[in-house]
């Protein structure tokens, strides 16, 4: 169990003006599974390589349980990185790949064999030890890469885009496998991804990095319900963002006066709510007349594009609630106050 603390971690590559990573401070509690989320080039892979010791920070510190590890060589840090493309050694069998780390530590052969068997069972790939990596599917290769990392009992596990090379149903399987193993072994795990869905399904907490800076670090749900600003909301696919002024528990904006939940940020700001939180039907507060301009079938959900006066509102509802509603219809909707959130900014 290892608590990882990044303090003011900065990396500026030679010949570039703007830092690739700008004073990142991040506290990763022991045994948690954290996502570093951001678009490509935001500095998340740089961060991971610095933790693994493959890159030297320009300034700042990395501590494990309060002890700085910056001067440790990569092989002595107890950090293992699993790359996105797995990078299994092609000329070694699966078993030799998994046992690699122990061979480097000169562990006796019979012990290695026993541990390899154990690890392959852990990732649910028994009996594949003699195969070559090229004979495995992508999902299997990833499990081998995971087993190869776990066999050395790392203090910290780093995963690079662990789900992005997998198709939809393999993703769920792999997510369950990674979460299961991670919780069982209690290894502090940090993974990077550019895909917010990958981040929220896998992580206990998500750290969103935009342009080299940490923008929000919270449980996944918060990014949908309480985004820090309009950019964060946009990164998570937020649709309904409206400017206005919040005062005394109400918000005046394009949709008229709306009742806010307790503790909403006062002053000029941006109102946002998830399309999923729009309700159909009348209500004592925040009821609005809306015209349906478009209806889009999404499979398990239906998206309605509504206009309230001049303002466009996106709603996503379950299909049985919207049966019979057609483009052109006028309906009543309401926005539960608890689903409204005021962000800083004025657009």
């Amino acid at each position: 169990m290892t608590r990882v603390l990044l303090s003011e971690l900065t990396k500026t590559y030679p010949g570039t003006a703007a830092p690739a990573l700008d004073r990142l401070t991040l506290d990763v509690p022991s045994g948690e599974l954290i996502a570093l989320l951001g678009p490509s080039g935001c500095g998340k892979t740089t961060t991971m390589k610095m933790i693994a010791g493959l890159l030297e920070p320009t300034s700042g510190d990395i501590t494990f349980d309060g002890r700085s590890i910056l001067w440790e060589k990569p092989e002595n840090r107890g950090v293992v990185m699993v790359f996105q493309n797995y990078l299994l050694f092609p000329y070694m069998s699966v078993a030799d790949n998994v046992g690699f780390g122990l061979r480097m530590r000169k562990v006796p052969k019979d012990q290695i064999a026993a541990r390899v068997t154990e690890m392959l069972a852990l990732v649910k790939l028994p009996d594949l030890g003699r195969r070559r990596p090229s004979e495995l599917s992508g999902g299997q290769q990833q499990r081998v890469a995971l087993a190869r990392a776990l066999i050395v009992q790392p203090k910290v596990l780093l995963l690079d885009e662990p789900l992005s090379n997998l198709d939809a149903h393999l993703r769920i399987e792999m997510r369950d496998l990674i979460r299961g193993i991670q919780k069982d072994l209690g290894i502090t795990t940090i993974f990077v991804t550019h895909d917010h869905e990958e981040a929220v399904v896998l992580a206990d907490r998500v750290a969103l990095i935009l342009n080299g800076q940490l923008r929000q670090y919270e449980v996944p749900d918060a990014f949908y319900r309480r985004p820090a600003d309009a950019e964060v909301a946009a990164f998570f696919g937020g649709k309904n963002v409206l400017p206005g002024v919040s005062a005394h528990g109400t918000f005046d904006g394009p949709l008229g006066r709306l009742t806010l939940p307790d503790g909403a940020r006062p002053g000029p700001g941006l109102l946002t709510f998830r399309p999923e939180s729009v309700r159909i039907g009348p209500a004592p507060v925040n009821a609005l007349k809306a015209r349906v301009s478009e209806r889009l079938y999404l499979g398990s959900r239906t998206r309605l594009r509504l206009t309230v006066g001049e303002t466009v509102v996106d709603a996503v509802l379950s299909p049985d609630l919207v049966e019979g509603i057609r483009p052109g219809d006028e309906i009543t909707i309401n926005l539960p106050p608890g689903s409204l959130w005021i962000m800083a900014g004025t657009r």
């Binding site: 693994a52 493959l54 092989e75 950090v79 990185m81 480097m104 070559r132």
Partner: protein, 285 residues
Amino acid sequence: MSDRMRIALLLAPAMTVIVVLFFGGLAVGVMRSFNWMPVIGLTEPNLDAYRAVLSDPDFLRSFGLTLYISITSTLISAVIAIAAALLLRQSFAGRGAINLLFQLNLTVPHIVGAIGVLYLFSQSGFFARMAFHIGLIARPAEFPALVFDPFAIGIILQYVWKEVPFIGVIVLAQMQALGTDYESVARSLGASRWQAFRHVLLPLILPGVLSASIIVFAFTFGAYEVPLLLGASHPQALPVLAYKTYTDVDLAARPEAMAMAVVIALLSALMIWAYLRATRARLRS
């Protein structure tokens, strides 16, 4: 037009050249080495030439010398080339210059390199002069014989000079295609810098190193002008001996020259076989 037809037409000119000139030349050489040439009336093949060649101590000495030169030059070149490629993978001042010099070196013919080595390492050459000036020797004859010498040091130096860039360029391209991620994985799994090289990078580049080395080995085994210029007068490198025997005033010696050529071809056939095994290993990975 069917694909088969199209392929046949596309390949026909090149295959004609290769089959007629290369395999034709090879076949005639083999036939003459057996004293078998029906068109000029030699209808009874025999092994006389091989018997004569293989019992000739000069030939055996030449063979041994040539083998020694090829093995030594190839090994030294491959080791230095790998080290140089590792160096060129890093970024440092002068890297661009070395890259350019490597490519320029590929364009310099062997004979020029041989002359350069002669002027550097002969007993009146540049290094001998340096040795004189720092008081190591008083006369040219005191400088160790590095050219025309029994250990073929000058020849080997020349091959190393030419072949390090050749192997180096191939290995460097391979390393750049691989990137450093495999080694990063190894390091994060607990391998030291040396272990990451020994257990991960080296096996990954080995097929390329092998196929380049095989080309170098075969080339040095069959090269003529370099040992002619830098070699001792006795024993001579095999290709030098073969050419001398072929152009001997005594035309009866020609089948023996052909037999030597066949020996060179056989050894390079062995190299092709080794090359194929190396490439197969590369394809498998």
